[in-house]
Symmetry: D2
Subunit: 434 residues, 4 copies
Amino acid sequence: LAQSRHRSRAGASPAVPAPARANDFARRYREVRAVTQTLAAPLSAEDCTVQSMPDASPVKWHLAHTTWFFETFVLEPEVADYRPFRPEFRTLFNSYYNTVGPQHARPQRGMISRPGLDEIRDYRSHVDRRVLDLLERDLGGAALDIIELGLHHEQQHQELMLTDVKHLFSLNPLRPAYQESAPLATAEPPALRWCHHPGGIAWVGYGSDAFSFDNERPRHRLLVEPFALASRLVTNAEFLAFIEDGAYQRPELWLSDGWDAVHKQGWRAPLYWWREDDAWHTLTLAGPRPVRPDEPVCHVSLYEADAYARWAGSRLPGEIEWEIFGARAAVDGNVLETGLLHPRPLAVENSDSPAQLFGDVWEWTSSPYAPYPRYQPPSGALGEYNGKFMVNQLVLRGGSCATPRSHLRATYRNFFPPHARWQFSGIRLASDAP
Amino acid sequence: LAQSRHRSRAGASPAVPAPARANDFARRYREVRAVTQTLAAPLSAEDCTVQSMPDASPVKWHLAHTTWFFETFVLEPEVADYRPFRPEFRTLFNSYYNTVGPQHARPQRGMISRPGLDEIRDYRSHVDRRVLDLLERDLGGAALDIIELGLHHEQQHQELMLTDVKHLFSLNPLRPAYQESAPLATAEPPALRWCHHPGGIAWVGYGSDAFSFDNERPRHRLLVEPFALASRLVTNAEFLAFIEDGAYQRPELWLSDGWDAVHKQGWRAPLYWWREDDAWHTLTLAGPRPVRPDEPVCHVSLYEADAYARWAGSRLPGEIEWEIFGARAAVDGNVLETGLLHPRPLAVENSDSPAQLFGDVWEWTSSPYAPYPRYQPPSGALGEYNGKFMVNQLVLRGGSCATPRSHLRATYRNFFPPHARWQFSGIRLASDAP
Amino acid sequence: LAQSRHRSRAGASPAVPAPARANDFARRYREVRAVTQTLAAPLSAEDCTVQSMPDASPVKWHLAHTTWFFETFVLEPEVADYRPFRPEFRTLFNSYYNTVGPQHARPQRGMISRPGLDEIRDYRSHVDRRVLDLLERDLGGAALDIIELGLHHEQQHQELMLTDVKHLFSLNPLRPAYQESAPLATAEPPALRWCHHPGGIAWVGYGSDAFSFDNERPRHRLLVEPFALASRLVTNAEFLAFIEDGAYQRPELWLSDGWDAVHKQGWRAPLYWWREDDAWHTLTLAGPRPVRPDEPVCHVSLYEADAYARWAGSRLPGEIEWEIFGARAAVDGNVLETGLLHPRPLAVENSDSPAQLFGDVWEWTSSPYAPYPRYQPPSGALGEYNGKFMVNQLVLRGGSCATPRSHLRATYRNFFPPHARWQFSGIRLASDAP
Amino acid sequence: LAQSRHRSRAGASPAVPAPARANDFARRYREVRAVTQTLAAPLSAEDCTVQSMPDASPVKWHLAHTTWFFETFVLEPEVADYRPFRPEFRTLFNSYYNTVGPQHARPQRGMISRPGLDEIRDYRSHVDRRVLDLLERDLGGAALDIIELGLHHEQQHQELMLTDVKHLFSLNPLRPAYQESAPLATAEPPALRWCHHPGGIAWVGYGSDAFSFDNERPRHRLLVEPFALASRLVTNAEFLAFIEDGAYQRPELWLSDGWDAVHKQGWRAPLYWWREDDAWHTLTLAGPRPVRPDEPVCHVSLYEADAYARWAGSRLPGEIEWEIFGARAAVDGNVLETGLLHPRPLAVENSDSPAQLFGDVWEWTSSPYAPYPRYQPPSGALGEYNGKFMVNQLVLRGGSCATPRSHLRATYRNFFPPHARWQFSGIRLASDAP
């Protein structure tokens, strides 16, 4: 059963009795599913249909795939004689679960003009009714675990809907906006300070009873050298200094594969930046505007983050260095719920601890995405959720302005290939202790 | 002026007085533009947005580009202080007119989720009103000539809308249908006969006063060897014999580039054919169904047409051979107006002359698309309409089941590259006279 | 039998008795085969091994393939119990004859470091001895015909050896030279004149009893419009004016596919030209040097030739227009035997007829490479020699500075795809008669 | 200075006095350089010229580049007024040192038919004489350090010469052999046992005074969980069971990127394996022969190694797990000096410790290639040697049958991207302790 893997390895059952838990689940299910609908609301059926690149998916596909997840992993096993909403969807909206069966080819997701957005909305309603029915009945812990996983899965796709729409709109010469802009006062970010840690044996990874993804487990010990973490994110002003110092033309600052990417892709600045009237402009989900120097830099690849750190005489943090500080911080910040959908300037000076750890931008770490010691993926199809991607990617930490708050944890491990730039990804520096 | 090129070289003005001509134009303008809307009616906004391959365009783009043509080539020069519906459209819906200015990249036409279909419909209405206003006023012959060209241009895109939607639907595992199917009785196509021509000096190309494209001109003489043209199109039954004789595995039947295409593309049958339950099936605009042996074969490339002819101990006709017989036939057949949108079995035996010359399928000829002797493209942007494509393509003749009847002529020259298969393209054989 | 196709359609046997003919063949066989060796002599084994692009072949491969031709088409059928020099060569050095069997993939020809050049020389000697043995015995006319074809085939590869080595050396930053340069006096090419032809019925194609390729046959009549042919080739000075007029940045001068090629390939000048010290330089087989204004322009594609002609207010000749004048001229000029291996400035004014028709550069025509009326390829493997390439290419006429004189005829049809530039290809203008 | 990084961080000078050290260096220099020549001896100039794929280089390039290393990093800085052997070589044989200047494009290394092999041999002699001259004079420790690095660099290229030639020969249908085969008795490899380690704090990385690469430093501590390492390498017999169990068709066994590679590359077995006469065959440097079940499996990618481990219910070792056992073993085995140039069956049962740790095949680990804590690359050009490749690759340990013995250490970190198969790369299993 998949259950045991999403829970702690010790197999301890949650203390909450099942009926109360199901009750709570029904509320959360409604809430999370409604957020998805709300995020899609400003988009036309046409906006929801187009796939802008193989890495991105149409919003319609996100709406359907998250529903498919509940249909496939909850309704099919739990409802006797369940008849699928439409049998073809089993293949059409399967992302990458080979154990479930074949998949519609990823780069072809944008060819599916039908089913239309209306039919996908019906699909969502249909599955919602059946899942909520189930939650009123006696549902075992294993099924509840999968529903919980499904809700976290849906939250991941909420963020992807926003980043994928942003990419789509960036290809449109009309420069459409997803939402109105909310003007923010100009800030003067505080000077960067170093937050020190003495090193030693540290416990990392998820160890409690509540939900986490399998890749955050098991909790384990590590020996950490003394280090320091930057007190805040790198800003656009700082990144502009890097650009103006000719960094995109200086191979000695780059990893070899990064230098190749700069040349092949013609990178000269972060994604969505362009020069106009002698100034850098950028695209936000509220439309185009000049680059603000006080905001955290965003939409950079690992290669650019790494080159920036080298140029700054510093380095990127390891994911564990980040987690050590993240575990002490409140899980809050400029997340999806602020509604800004863009990284926010840091105005207030923090106390001793690093600011902006959660929200704003996913922070590239130098850590390749690899299994923790004694990691075991769940058995069955859900074992494909995380484990098979543990190569050729790097870990990002902390969540972004498009991540729901309740989705985040200090132990959360996001991962993307080093060339990816369309996520809200930014830079925090780290340093060896003197 | 572009006018002179679209008219006869002798420059004779049409006999019809301008006001009557404008009157007639208003009626035709309304008719042709309405057909376009009717063809788009069964499609959702999502269907109209997606681009299935770089060769094809979204229906929304066709709707807008044909409108752009009138806005750019009629309203801008003819209406004082004309303000464009939306200035960005000048680039967005320019297909390939470098003289007009830059173009939105062709393979990116499917990224344009906005403007939405509704806005494009408004664009059409806006331009229609202004063009019809113009037609009520005193409009010169040159402008009328361009409107006439614009209507023929729109008819070309009517056919492309259908072939492009068919291609899009072919990529959808749900196999949607564009329209209901109209069942036809099974036919027994008559045996193929040869219609002979003694050769000699022939006049070809368009020579009268009415509309033709520049590439049909000038009318000129040629020396033609004796030849014979097949009395009807090649049928699916005949093409199946070719397949079953292993033709797709026999290099000696193919042009060298054709054999490469067979291998690189994995061709084993015409486009849209697949094996299912031990039988060949195909996709039609009325949905999937078994291949009918009595229908003309369709969706073949020049390479397949040429290989079939070689296998059959015959050859493809030269475009002039086709035109000699086409010029004697009535311009009618299974064209757009029959509503079948699929080639139709030949039931009735013809008299002495070839059947199915017009409609059903565009007939590949062996003639590379090249200028006629002393061909001159129009000056200005409209000189880019045809002339610059006169390389790497072959001529097809006769129109298809998706071509409007009033669009066709015996001198009409369609052209596609030899690997193209998504048009309604088929095969008629020719032969040297004994 | 292949014989009948390489001879006249009427099948008339040559008047020369077979033994005398064989005697003559032995002499010519030795001569032609020796030229090949001479051309390879300045090259190291390493030079002979590398393939610089899929369109080009290693010299070693040319040496072997021309030998394979005699082994496969003469020794195997004519020598009882013939044992191949090395059985693997049947596949390894088969260019494109599917009828003979599989072929080593063309882009992999440069991977064959073994057999080494020495072994290929042994292979040549071995086959030469056996063919010359045969020529001392009673050999039928059909076999002699194939030997004759093999010698013309070898001459084609002599030219390709030079163009392929030139391309290879162009990729070497050391800029090696194939031979010493022979300085030529500066010329002042005469002004371009037009040589007129009144049009009418013309006979074209090869009609005599001697050797021609199948694609030059059958001789047939055509109706030709009045036209004029330029009295000489376009010079570098003239082509420089085209460049300096911004032609490579002006889409209106180009065929659509040509404009794409300009952009995708970054063309700014003919192949092998580059700017250095504010002057254009070029590569010759005698090494790099400044571009001479008085030489015929060379290494241009059909697209560049066509754009130049349009820019010059003129057009390219049809192949038949060229042939009409070619048939009246002496088959001589700056061909392989002059040893220059580069187009030569025209110094002496010609009489009334066009100069430089033969030699210097292959002249692009506007004629797609297509079969003549009633063309029939030979049966069997040799039917693949020409016929299967009759699509997607254009005809070039007249031969170049790398073509053996005895290889040329007025009816000779060379052919390359429109983007090809590594052959010695240049431009002659034509014009409609006033 | 580069020196300090290649030496211990503490900066301790070697105990050996400089003159004696130089003396020793002269001997080793001669030896190492002579091995390179010996390895190239069986190859023709043509063999040495061809580049079989962008990942591989021509042997001639290896011969020149290793020489360029000494010329650029030793002769240029140390010899007053040094005049380069040929100035163009600075660019032509620069592999990837941006700090030194531009580089001839890697995929174009095979285009360099000139300089010929003879000239490269002269180049080697020239540089050897100058370096040996220097070694007779008073040379500082920094320069000696760079010579030492250059010798280890040359040994790396000795191995690459063999793997690159093997790849080249694999593309030749004549299946050439690099050397004669030495028949080995059939072995019965002992059953796989687990060698346990209790975990705890471990010191890893290079810590002594002698040579190591910068990426092996600094020596540092780690916390290691209890684990077990397999007593021997995975054999062909075992890997055949994996194949026969349908593993190449079972997505659940593979990393996602690995499954993509299987499909895109059509992998069905290790590189150089093919079916013939109902048996698997493979290519060795002594030519083709049937796959021996008793040999260690070789030429597998990380993806195949990882899938095999998963199939076997086990996992790959982390690089530190390997190093812990490697540090206790003698640095010996089936290395270059045995002359087999192929992995060797394990006949003799080992004692308690793992066998085959050094030699035979490079062992894939699960460890992404990343810097050790507080790693600092050398300053200057030699900082590009290792550091800039620390992304998108995985670590391999232990050396292969093509690695010189004196080149290996327990701390040695080799690295390749996960899809690479042309190195002698194989599999050792590891396991969590029970």
